[in-house]
């Protein structure tokens, strides 16, 4: 458990943080488009 929580879990959490940044950029671009009325409402 000590190896899991000290080494493996931090790497997994950092990977999740990076993955969310990429998804967030797409999400914000989509909101921006939406606010400019570029998508059908």
């Amino acid at each position: 458990l000590i190896v899991l929580t000290t080494i493996v879990f931090p790497v997994v959490a950092i990977a999740a943080g990076v993955a969310v940044i990429r998804a967030l950029i797409k999400f914000v671009i989509e909101i921006q488009r939406d606010l400019r009325g570029e998508r059908p409402r």
Binding site: T6, A13, V18, V20, A23, I31
Partner: protein, 475 residues
């Protein structure tokens, strides 16, 4: 974290990192703000994808208790609270599998109150609104107190100023943007703390003066002594509170309603449950490793930040402090947004339904109103774990049974709804506040029993509610 505990040794570089964080939040607020309708403000037009649902849920789940508080528990009791809290992760997964997809199907609903109204009528919606707004104010106050105390330690400003700065800036972000903006800023905050805090743990493991195996022995020793110090009923009470206390709390329910599909909702909840297992392990073991870096006798609540000070260079330590502020703000944003939406929809909306335009304006004003009351109430807030356990013991007994019955289409009557809520919440409060939990039996369990009795009695009273024939049940 107590106020004025000696300061946090913030350098100009650290201060720059914190200011950079607030500037980034302001840019995000600007990029994602603007709502044309109340629907947009409340549920983001049901358009939020899986990863954003996941990040937003996880950011809401990881508040000051599940970070600073958990490291304190890890420092004093090793893995004990990690094990006790695993039912919480199970609850998130179970909600994702069994409840969230059923909630997401209610595309015409913006709140839990709306869902309750469909099965029990407007009085149940009104009661749901009152309970939701009251509890969410409580959550906002507790989180604001933690964030305010922390800011006071950094700046040395008076507590009042710090309370206003933390909860006020969160309210301004939520006020301008609604749910989609809240979810976007939460995702950014999630990324910040998901990278900063685990990185600090890796540094701690790397530089540790003792081997990982020795750390493991220390962790189990602390766990065993913590286990021995608590009675079995107390252990059970804490575990059951974590299991049931936050099931479909309004911020989580709002994310299920905001998901672009049932599949996005389920996946978001499953990922958030798995992340909870990972995150809690990280912050718990951070407390264990702290014994190798901090002097004996350090206050448990200070361990999280003190580890950052001991391990990280100037500037990077500021990023960690920004991550701690992000942890507080991301949870506060969610509860503020859903508190305002519940107030407009389930309280005001039942008494006198506002127009779409008025509802949007009222939701924004209510965000500030809920924040103002929470700032005032923060001074009366108990310690974080005590405060959370009190709030948990009200939510589940009041809402869980009638909500599950509504989602699963069980035979219900209006009386079943409000009697389950009134008896569930009332019994739990009386057991806890009036009688002081006799024999150590957890109030949440007694309350659930009261709710079941109320529900069964109510089912024998009157006919099932049919919204299409009910007076004033428009929408």
């Amino acid at each position: 974290m107590t106020a004025g505990d000696g300061g946090m040794g913030v350098t100009p570089l650290d201060a720059a990192a914190i200011i950079g964080y607030f500037a980034l939040m302001a840019v995000f607020g600007y990029l994602t703000r603007r709502n044309r309708t109340f629907q947009e403000f409340a549920v983001g037009r049901h358009s939020v994808p899986t990863l954003m649902i996941f990040a937003s849920l996880a950011a809401t789940i990881v508040g000051p208790g599940f970070s600073v508080g958990f490291t304190a528990k890890g420092y004093s009791t090793g893995y004990l609270f990690y094990f006790l809290c695993l039912p919480y992760a199970f609850q998130t997964v179970a909600s994702g599998v069994f409840l969230a997809p059923r909630l997401t199907r209610h595309r015409d609903c913006t709140t839990l109150g709306d869902v309750m109204r469909k099965s029990y009528g407007r009085f149940a919606q009104f009661l749901t609104g009152l309970v939701s707004v009251g509890l969410l104010m409580g959550f906002t106050a507790i989180m604001g107190k933690i964030g305010g105390s922390m800011l006071q330690s950094i700046t040395g400003w008076p507590l009042w100023t710090c309370l206003i700065a933390v909860t006020g800036s969160t309210a301004l972000l939520t006020f301008t943007g609604g749910l989609r903006a809240t979810i976007a800023t939460e995702a950014l905050q999630f990324s910040l703390f998901s990278i900063a805090v685990p990185a600090m743990l890796l540094v701690a493991a790397w530089r540790s003066p003792v081997t990982l195996a020795e750390q493991g022995v220390r962790a189990w020793d602390l766990t065993a002594s913590g286990f021995d110090a608590m009675g079995s009923l107390a252990l059970f009470g804490v575990a059951i509170s974590f299991l049931l206390g936050e099931v479909l709390l309004p911020p989580y329910a709002n994310r299920a309603l905001a998901a672009k599909s049932s599949r996005a909702s389920v996946s978001g909840f499953l990922l958030a449950g798995a992340y909870t297992v990972v995150w809690l392990g990280i912050v718990a073991v951070l407390g264990v490793l702290a014994h190798s870096y901090l002097p004996d006798g350090v206050a448990a609540d200070s361990v999280f930040v003190a580890m950052g000070k001991a391990l990280l260079p100037a500037g990077v330590y500021g990023v960690l402090l920004a991550a701690v502020i992000a942890i507080v703000m991301s949870s506060q944003e969610s509860v503020l947004n859903s508190g305002a939406v519940a107030f407009v929809r389930d309280v005001v909306g039942v008494l006198s339904p506002p127009s779409e335009r008025s509802a949007l304006l009222l939701a924004k004003v209510s965000t500030l109103g809920v924040a103002a009351v929470a700032i005032y109430a923060a001074q009366f807030a108990p310690s974080i774990i005590d405060g959370l356990l009190i709030l948990y013991s009200i939510w589940a007994p009041t809402m869980l049974l009638p909500l599950v019955a509504a989602l699963y289409g069980w035979r219900t009557t209006p009386a079943a709804g409000w009697l389950a809520m009134a008896l569930g919440g009332g019994t739990s409060l009386a057991w806890q506040a009036g009688l002081g939990e006799p024999a150590g039996v957890p109030a949440i369990l007694v309350g659930m029993l009261g709710s079941l009795v109320g529900f069964l009695i109510g089912r024998t009273m009157g006919e099932p509610f049919e919204e299409s024939t009910a007076q004033g049940a428009s929408d």
